[in-house]
């Protein structure tokens, strides 16, 4: 394109702006030219009439000349588009009811898709804020059934030294810290990590520095890196914070750096706090850490360039089997597992999100079908107008383009309203969302989400307006113009198209409803699972004592016993107990045990595995865990080491199937000295972490035997549990003014949180299914009403020939229900196939649960019947005289 052509196009573009003025000017020019010609003609002797006629003929006609100039003067395509848009807007304004319904329907469909996509984008698509995040893998030990078991530090260092597939491997461990200093002590979540954590992640400090290798030397490790949030909150964003001393767990630490605002490193799985760290301290590596005991750390590694995940896994497997041979006692059956970051973080959310995305896709398809139906109906009503346009010389392409423009105008409006809905919906989604979502970046309507909405809206518009447009453009000119308003129903083919759309709609709705039904049933099951304890009116509160100040068993024991005594006397408290990990905190402690007098399976293998609970004597009363056999600890036993233990039924059933466990002695491998301890009682099973898992073997050890530095108080209240928290905090403060209190939550809340993800899935799918039901009911109602109006004449004849109201009612209902049942049949088949995708989301319900299938099918059929009933009633009111006269 040369400069002249560009100039010409620009002129054309500007020509669009002052079109009216240019047209006027050209009309003037033509007038004057014509006048000149006529004058000349008269001069050569023609009569004035003859002169004018000849001049006009010579010109080639006024209109045509103007049209010719117009084509050159502007951009025809753009002008047509503007014209179409103007006309389309006029049409939409003229039918506000139609416009409102269509726009709302589309907004609902597009909005739901955008909202869900904004979550999908945040969880499954958007890049993590680490350098080359796709080369990062989380490292776990593989232990028995557990694919993601925390790592033993001893193993970690062996792996680090022996591997050659990763560029760096860093270990970390979530901790709760007491941050003191100038202001009141506060419990702050933190992480201790090997000095290379930040370099493996590829993230630098915003202010100051991250860890250096010398920071992990014992004695030089009292430095701390702050998160941006903590820096702002606790230090007011002070730029001179670097070098400041803070009191962390009763030890002076020097602040060396602040991380950027979007930095976050939190692996929920096996986290001992369940919350993102706000400060990082270097892990002081002494020789002691290389002893084989305890598995509790997490690790992240960066694959070397050119090394694939499979290669890395194979290499690590070789290391694992070598280590298993070298240290059979500790590492028999232990492997190494590498999990890509996305898989680790998205985890079980992925499947749920994909199902939800599919569900909103269905909702959008139903919305499309509805709007297409509306447009088809309207196109039938506009046949006359279209025929006139065709008669005036509009080509078929031109008519299709006009109708397509109108359709896109509708989706444009629908998309805009949908975006508003999505903004609101995304906020609602985040509020409802399970805690895992917090591991990702903010859910927001970002540029890629906007792009998605735009594409979806465009596709939607094309999909739902193409069929009606082609239908309409096939108008048979002569017939339509001759017919005088009769038979607006359009041709049978468009009627058939509408029927197909309704069948599809109902089928889609049925699939969604069945999916939602299955989730609801599964959720109800989950909610009704017996936890083994009574969660109502129980307040829980974690307290973690810094080992610096509480360095002796006696001190810890004293603190907890005194606190419990005082809590017991608070007004409204029925029972005050304590345990190391309350159920549904998401954490636990597990170890092997031996049984006195029973041969071990092999010298280096324990007889069994048990969860280890450390409690006081009142804990069972506080949670109302029933005693099944024997007795509980006495107060004496809880305070002094007497070597007694209480087990649960699962442990008794698994390890003492046909004998009385009472009086038997077991020994756990937790803290030396390992002493054989007598079983004095058996209590009921308790779900510890997940409602959908069977109870595990558990043993309850008096706090005097294993004085943990952290415990969770559980207070059973006579009434509402939340009122007592101030009193409890007060007790802790009086006992130790420097001791912060951790999260205070009701047990109900903890249990509820454990099924937040299921609640999220269920609620959303239920909402989408309800929308689908509503839309498809509107759809079948619309089609049936339209067909009744279209068949007024026929119904009139039938009535005149003696058909009574019930005959006519049956006639219409039969047709409507034929469509509905066809949709149900297709939907059932599709549901059989598609619900299989939900298998992992369900608990205690089969993917083809007959009850759900039957109830949902009945529900949908009933709604369809209702939607047909109204137009059918209308049909019976047709007055044969009027119907026949309207011909």
């Amino acid at each position: 394109m040369n400069i002249r052509q560009i100039r010409s196009w620009l002129a054309r573009l500007f020509g669009l702006l002052n079109r009216a003025r240019r047209e006027r000017e050209f009309a003037e020019e033509l007038e004057s030219q014509l006048a000149l010609h006529i004058e000349d003609n008269i001069r050569v002797g023609m009569s004035p009439e003859e002169a004018q006629r000849v001049a006009l003929i010579k010109l080639g006609g006024m209109t045509l000349t103007k049209e010719l100039r117009r084509e050159q003067g502007g951009i025809l395509m753009l002008e047509t588009l503007l014209q179409d848009l103007r006309f389309g807007l006029q049409m939409l304004r003229k039918n506000p009811g139609f416009t409102l319904i269509a726009v709302l329907t589309l907004a609902l469909g597009i909005g739901a898709n955008t909202a869900i996509f904004s979550v999908v984008n945040a969880v499954l698509l958007r890049a993590f804020p680490y350098t080359d995040a796709e080369r990062l893998v989380i490292v776990w030990e593989r232990l028995g059934q557990d694919e993601q078991n925390p790592i033993s530090p001893a193993n970690f260092f062996d792996w680090q030294e022996q591997q050659n597939v990763v560029a760096g491997m860093a270990a970390f461990n979530d901790t709760r810290n007491s941050l003191g200093g100038d202001s009141a002590p506060e419990e702050v979540m933190g992480q201790f990590a090997t000095d290379n954590l930040f370099s493996v992640l590829g993230v630098n400090a915003l202010v100051g520095r991250t860890f250096a290798p010398e920071d992990s030397q014992p004695g030089r490790h009292t430095v701390v890196v702050l998160s941006y949030g903590l820096w702002q909150r606790r230090f007011g964003g002070d730029p001179n914070v670097i070098g400041r001393k803070v009191l962390l767990n009763a030890v002076d630490h020097t602040v060396i750096g602040v991380m950027p605002p979007d930095f976050k490193w939190h692996v929920r799985k096996n986290s001992q706090t369940g919350q993102a760290a706000e400060l990082w301290t270097p892990w002081a590596i002494s020789n002691d850490v290389r002893q084989f005991r305890g598995r509790f750390i997490g690790a992240v590694a960066r694959l070397k360039p050119g090394v694939s995940l499979l290669q890395a896994r194979a290499a690590m497997d070789r290391i694992a089997s070598r280590l298993a041979e070298q240290h059979p006692q500790f590492n028999r059956g232990a492997g190494i597992n590498l999990v890509p970051l996305r898989e680790q973080f998205a985890g079980e959310l992925r499947r749920a999100l994909l199902v939800l995305m599919g569900a909103v896709g269905f909702v959008l398809l139903i919305a499309c079908a509805n709007v297409a139906n509306l447009l088809l109906a309207r196109a039938a009503a506009r046949q006359k107008e279209i025929a006139v346009r065709a008669a005036m010389g509009a080509s078929r392409g031109r008519i299709v383009r006009q109708l397509l423009t109108e359709g896109l105008l509708l989706t444009g409006l629908g998309g805009a309203v949908g975006l508003l809905l999505a903004r609101w919906g995304a906020t609602a989604l985040v509020n409802l969302s399970p805690p895992e979502l917090g591991d990702f970046q903010q859910v927001e309507i970002s540029a890629s989400v906007l792009g998605f909405t735009f594409v979806v809206a465009l596709l939607t518009g094309v999909i739902f307006s193409l069929a009606p447009a082609f239908e309409a453009s096939k108008v048979k000119l002569g017939e339509t113009l001759k017919e005088t308003g009769r038979n607006l129903a359009g041709n049978p083919r468009s009627q058939r198209l509408r029927s197909v759309l309704v069948v599809a709609e109902i089928a889609l709705a049925l699939v969604l409803l069945i999916g939602a039904g299955l989730l609801i049933r599964s959720f109800l099951r989950l909610q009704n699972v017996d936890t083994g304890f009574d969660a109502r009116n129980v307040l829980t509160m974690r307290v973690a004592l810094p080992l610096g100040r509480y360095d002796q068993d006696e001190k810890r024991l004293n603190f907890f016993t005194q606190a419990l005594e005082r809590m017991q006397s608070l007004p409204g408290v029925e029972a005050a107990g304590a345990i190391n990990f309350t159920p549904f905190l998401g954490l636990g402690s597990e170890t092997g045990f031996d049984i006195d007098g029973r041969a071990k399976p092999s010298p280096d293998q324990a007889a069994g595995v048990t969860s280890v609970c450390i409690t006081d004597q009142n804990f069972f009363r506080a949670l109302r865990i029933p005693l099944k056999r024997g007795r509980l600890f006495t107060e004496q036993e809880a305070r002094e080491r007497r070597n007694v233990v209480v087990i649960n039924e699962a442990l008794a059933g698994k390890y003492f199937p046909n004998e009385n466990p009472l009086g038997k002695r077991i020994k756990i491998m937790m803290r030396p000295p390992h002493v054989m301890t007598e079983i004095i009682g058996v209590v009921g099973d308790v779900k510890h972490a997940q409602l959908d898992r069977a109870a595990e073997p558990m043993s309850y050890w008096p706090i005097s035997q294993l004085p943990y530095p952290f415990m969770t108080f559980a207070l059973r209240m006579h009434g509402d549990a939340s009122g007592v928290s101030a009193g409890v905090r007060n007790i802790i403060q009086t006992l130790d003014p420097q001791q912060p209190v951790g999260e205070v939550r009701t047990l109900d809340n903890l249990v509820g949180n454990s099924i937040a993800r299921q609640r999220f899935n269920t609620l959303l799918l239920a909402v989408f299914a309800a929308v689908a039901l509503l839309l498809s009911a509107i759809g079948i109602y619309g089609v049936m009403s339209f067909s009744v109006v279209a068949r007024t004449h026929e119904i009139g004849i039938r009535a005149a020939l003696g058909a009574n109201a019930s005959n006519i009612l049956r006639l219409v209902l039969k047709r409507g229900m034929t469509l509905a049942l066809a949709g149900v049949a297709v939907g059932l088949l599709a549901a059989m196939v598609l619900t299989r995708l939900m298998k992992t989301l369900l608990f205690g319900v089969s993917v083809t649960d007959p009850l759900t299938f039957v109830v949902i099918t009945l529900l949908l059929t009933l709604v369809a019947l209702l939607a047909c009933w109204i137009p059918a009633r209308l049909a019976t009111k047709v007055d044969p005289m009027i119907a026949l006269r309207t011909e």
């Binding site: 100039r7 030219q33 000149l36 010109l59 000349t65 010719l68 100039r69 050159q72």
Partner: protein, 113 residues
Amino acid sequence: MSEKTDVWQGTLALMVLKTLEALGPLHGYGIARRIEQTSENKLAINYGTIYPALVKLEQEGYIASEWGASDNNRKAKYYKLTRAGRKRLAQETRKWETTTAILARFFVPPQES
């Protein structure tokens, strides 16, 4: 747009430019008339077809227009050549001469020596 009309448009544009060069500023009717006369009425055109050509030439900047008065004091729009138009005309003339010269060699029978 077919090839035939393209050729016609190009030729017409050239005729318009040449006419304006010969007669100076002129209105649309005058240009059309002059083209007809020059062709000794062998070229009968609808006067209307001159206008798209004029609009295009103006868009491309080869001619400019302004309102003026005709000989018998009637208001009319006059078109005149711009400098770009003169340059273009000179180019086109040279091109035309070369082309005709080459073609002439094919159509004139060779001289016997």
